[in-house]
Structures are given as structure tokens and as C-alpha cells.
């Protein structure tokens, strides 16, 4: 094993709680290379640093993705980051793998429970509170790396892509929640659907999603040729191709090679008139 590979073992020990626990219990069971690295480091100190990194990792993401809940904490008395000091989070830490989606889901569940449990008084003051928590939780989850997926013949919806149905049109009010206000900014009570997508570089984008885009995403199973899908949905093939390319750039779909043999350069598809939200 060379030193770059040894570095990777150390990084996995720091980022992967279950792996670290198994190495601390029996390093030899993980193979000679891992055992050699484990012998060369102070594992007890590495374990402490791993826990420190875990708390730091999720704190950074809570600060970023739950910023609206943080801004409203003077009204709710529930700053989301206090979850990281809870007994529940401490118990969860050994099972967490930084950046992994199942781990992010477990932390998101803790956050949602903390913010919405016995929250009637909060809902009375902030009627869109449940939508806001759901929005932030999906954003938080979308940051996580999806599991490796099998290559499909045709474009398919990415595992990290999420559609969220809301009772309130939150994007209309989000920036105002971060500014000082004397009266709580209220979004229109209007059913809203949002698409969350994660690019291969890890950038999360949120765009409004109309029925046409939803139908398209639901039809992208990886087994359907785009031309057939276009015909089924009554879409122009060239517009569909452009839409698929936009969705691929956002990370909403995974494609293998070209989408079709049709030309490019058609008008933008209405379905993906994209706008990013903070």
C-alpha cells in the first residue's frame, strides 16, 4: 500500500463511523493494509477527532440548509443546531457516514422531530412552519451523496432528485425571512411543487416543477427511449432533448450519451424554466 492509499484509509476512518468502530474492535479483520494503518495511528485520538468532524460536518449543513429555522429561532425558541448536542445525536454518531444519504436521512429525521414535535404554538405564529421544515429537510438531504447506481440504457431520474409538495408558496417569501422584520412575512397559501436536484459536483438546485415536468420525471425510468416518452407525453422531440439536457446539468437525471438523434437548438422547454432559490 502506498502513502496515498494509507491516507485514504485514515480519511475513511475519520468519515465512516461504523468502519472506525469495526477497526477499533478488530483491525486485522479489515485486512492487512488497514491493520497496518491502524497500528501506525493513535486510534483513540483518531476516534475523538472523528466525532469532532462528524459534529462539525452536520453543523455546517444545518447552518446552511436550515438557515430559515435559525433566523426564526427568536420566535420559535428552537434553533435547529441544538440537535447536535442532544443525547439522540450522540447515540447516532457511531452509525453515521459523512456525506452518505442514509446517514443524512437519519439526521434529517432528528431535526424534523426536534422542530415539529409539540409545535402547536409555533404553527399558530408561523402557519407555514411545517412546509418550511420540510423544505429545509429536503434541501439538507439533497446535499448528501446518492448511492452508486447501475448504468441504464436511457435517461433516468437521479436517486437524489426529490419532488416536494407544499401548501404554501414558500419561494416567494424565503429571502424576506432572512431580513429583519416587524411582521412575519407571509407566503401566498397556494399549492406549490418544487424539484430538488443535486449536481455531480454537489450543488443543490431548487426549481418550481409544473405537472408536465413531474410527468416527465416520473416517466424517466431508464427503460424508456426518449422518443417514445416524448410521444407518450405529447412533447416535441427537440424540446424534450433540450429539457433533458437542462435536467442533466442540474443533476436531476442521469443519462448515458446522447438523448436522441434529433437536432438541438429548439426553443427552451417551459417545463424547466429554472430559478434557483437560496
Amino acid at each position: 500500500m502506498n502513502s496515498r492509499q494509507a491516507q485514504d484509509v485514515i480519511l475513511r476512518l475519520l468519515a465512516d463511523g461504523p468502519f472506525r468502530a469495526s477497526v477499533m474492535a478488530d483491525a486485522a479483520a479489515q485486512g492487512a493494509d488497514v491493520a497496518a494503518v491502524a497500528r501506525g495511528v493513535d486510534m483513540a485520538a483518531l476516534d475523538r477527532f472523528g466525532r469532532f468532524l462528524c459534529r462539525h460536518y452536520y453543523r455546517e449543513r444545518i447552518v446552511h440548509y436550515f438557515k430559515y429555522a435559525r433566523a426564526l429561532a427568536p420566535m420559535t425558541d428552537r434553533p435547529p443546531e441544538v440537535v447536535l448536542k442532544s443525547a439522540e445525536f450522540k447515540a447516532l454518531m457511531p452509525r453515521l457516514i459523512l456525506g452518505e444519504r442514509t446517514s443524512a436521512q437519519a439526521v434529517a429525521d432528528l431535526l424534523k422531530a426536534h422542530l415539529t414535535r409539540e409545535a402547536e404554538a409555533i404553527r399558530a405564529a408561523i402557519p407555514f412552519w411545517d412546509d418550511l421544515v420540510a423544505y429545509q429537510a429536503v434541501f439538507f438531504l439533497s446535499d448528501a451523496r446518492p448511492a452508486a447506481s447501475e448504468a441504464r440504457r436511457y435517461p433516468t431520474r437521479a436517486e437524489s432528485t426529490t419532488l416536494l409538495e407544499l401548501e404554501w408558496d414558500l419561494p416567494a417569501v424565503l429571502p424576506a425571512l432572512l431580513r429583519p422584520f416587524s411582521r412575519l412575512p407571509m407566503p401566498p397559501r397556494q399549492r406549490t411543487r418544487l424539484l430538488f436536484a443535486r449536481s455531480p459536483e454537489g450543488e443543490v438546485t431548487v426549481v418550481r416543477c409544473n405537472d408536465a415536468l413531474r410527468d416527465l420525471l416520473e416517466g424517466l425510468t431508464g427503460d424508456v427511449e426518449p422518443a417514445s416518452l416524448a410521444a407518450r407525453l405529447g412533447l416535441d422531440a427537440a424540446s424534450l432533448e433540450k429539457t433533458l439536457r437542462q435536467l442533466e446539468r442540474l443533476g436531476a437525471i442521469i443519462a448515458q450519451g446522447s438523448f436522441s438523434s434529433s437536432h438541438v437548438g429548439s426553443e427552451p422547454a417551459d417545463a424547466t424554466t429554472a430559478r434557483k432559490y437560496p
Binding site: 502513502s3 491516507q7 485514504d8 480519511l11 468519515a15 493513535d42 468532524l53 460536518y57 456525506g99 437560496p278
Partner: protein, 268 residues
């Protein structure tokens, strides 16, 4: 100690933008750890009033830098009109991209790593056409897998690439602390003569670590004394920066620390 004007500044913390702008006479430069938000109303003024230094995560120099990371760095360097570009002596992500600690963490100090850092740094410098400085990163736990000391690794890297040293004084203190060495003795092993920039920073106790670590707080007087000691041994230094970038950073911390740093280092 150098004779030309030495910049004294801090990191750009958007939640403290108004206070930062009001301290424009005190603060010469701002290090940019994140790109400005698209809706940051203060950034245009910030860009006009301060020297900006690119201090973002570009890519770990342990591995080849992908084209999109180079392009992003190029765009940021142009936006900031940065005098030099800073990267960290870190390796935080596995080669396959599967595990990422998303926090500064140093590489093993080996010949193989040094070769990789040197090669990738040269690519970065060529792509950006600007000087590079690299900041040293402390290691919390003992790892007997190194082939050379941190100081040897850094000196060879800087001599091979022509990059400058960004000495973070709190990082050096922590490295010495967790190795059980006096800080000044440890600093003497680092290439202070090749330093371009000096970071001053604060620390706090962390229960997970059962000890101190970097924190977005003001440096103690002892830390500034140590910084002043190192500063006297840095003939090429051109900037001193209060390294604190966090929404936890409290109002007043930046102007107070910049003022204290100026006084302690005689950079009034």
C-alpha cells in the same frame, strides 16, 4: 522584517459586512473563503474598498485538479483581482471521492505525497497565472506513517514550486501542543523565511477533542505574542490576516482583532 507596506486584514464574513465596510480604514484586505452570494448587497462595495485574496477550497493538491475546479478558481481569481491564491496543505477526500471529511486535514508527509503536491501545484499556478501560497494544517492525532517532518515537507514543496508559505500561527501552536513540544521550538522547524502571509486566529476547548482547537474567536494576547515572534522571522511576509470565517463570529471581533494585531506587530 520587510520594509514595504504589509497588509493587515481579515476574512469576509457576509453577516458582518456593514461593520467591515465601516472599518475600511483599519482593514486593508479581506480573504474570501466562499464566493459571494448572488444576492449579497454589500459585495460590490466590498470589492471596491478592499484588496481581496482568494482563499477558497480549490482542490486538494494530493490529486490532479479537475478542469471544472481550475475554471472555478480562475473565475474567482478574476472576480477578486487577487494578488495571490491560497490553498491548504490538506488531503480531505479519498481518491475515489467516496469519503470526504469536509474539513481541513493534512496529508501524510511522504516523498510520494510531496511529488503529487508539487506536480499539481505547478498545474494550478500555470492555469491561474498568479502566485500560490499554501497554508499548513495541524494534525490532532499521532500518525507514525510520515517519512519526513511537516517542516521538511513544506520547505521542499515551496522550493520546488516557488509557492509561498502561509503560516497559520494557531495551527502551528496546535501542532506543537498535540506533539508535546514548545510552540517556538516547533515554529523554528517551519520555513518562516519563505512566508508570504501570516494568519492569526483564536482557539477554544472542544469536548469531543478533550482539548483546544481552532475556533472563530479572537486570539489571546499570548497567541498574538507568538505571532509577533514568528513575524520577526518572516522577511518576505506581505499580509497578516485574522483567520475567522463563521456565522458564529460575533460583531466587533474583526475590528478589535485587526487593531490588536496592528498594535502587537507594530503595523499602525
Amino acid at each position: 522584517m520587510p520594509t514595504e507596506k504589509i497588509l493587515v486584514g481579515a476574512f469576509y464574513n457576509p453577516h458582518l459586512a456593514e461593520e467591515t465596510l465601516a472599518s475600511a480604514g483599519l482593514i486593508d484586505h479581506l480573504a474570501m473563503a466562499d464566493p459571494p452570494e448572488k444576492n449579497d448587497p454589500y459585495f460590490p462595495q466590498i470589492r471596491e474598498r478592499f484588496v481581496l485574496l482568494l482563499h477558497d477550497y480549490i482542490h486538494q493538491l494530493a490529486d490532479p485538479i479537475p478542469p471544472h475546479a481550475l475554471e472555478r478558481a480562475r473565475q474567482l481569481a478574476e472576480l477578486y483581482r487577487t494578488t495571490w491564491v491560497a490553498e491548504h496543505c490538506q488531503c480531505v477526500m479519498t481518491e475515489d471521492g467516496r469519503f470526504n471529511v469536509d474539513y481541513v486535514f493534512p496529508p501524510l508527509y511522504t516523498r510520494q505525497m510531496l511529488d503529487r503536491y508539487t506536480e499539481n501545484a505547478k498545474v494550478l499556478m500555470n492555469a491561474l497565472g498568479r502566485p500560490l501560497v499554501m497554508e499548513q494544517i495541524p494534525r490532532y492525532f499521532r500518525a507514525d506513517l510520515d517519512e519526513m517532518t511537516e517542516g521538511e515537507f513544506l520547505r521542499e514543496f515551496f522550493e520546488a514550486t516557488g509557492a509561498g508559505f502561509l503560516l497559520d500561527i494557531a495551527h502551528a501552536w496546535l501542532e506543537a501542543h498535540y506533539r508535546g513540544k514548545p510552540a517556538r521550538e516547533y515554529l523554528n522547524t517551519l520555513p518562516l523565511d519563505l512566508a508570504t502571509e501570516l494568519h492569526v486566529a483564536g482557539m477554544t476547548e472542544y469536548s469531543d477533542l478533550e482539548g483546544p482547537w481552532i475556533a472563530p474567536v479572537e486570539p489571546t494576547d499570548d497567541m498574538l505574542d507568538l505571532a509577533a515572534w514568528a513575524f520577526e522571522r518572516m522577511p518576505e511576509v506581505r499580509a497578516v490576516t485574522f483567520d475567522a470565517f463563521s456565522t458564529l463570529l460575533q460583531p466587533g471581533a474583526i475590528p478589535r482583532t485587526v487593531e490588536r494585531t496592528r498594535k502587537r506587530l507594530n503595523l499602525i
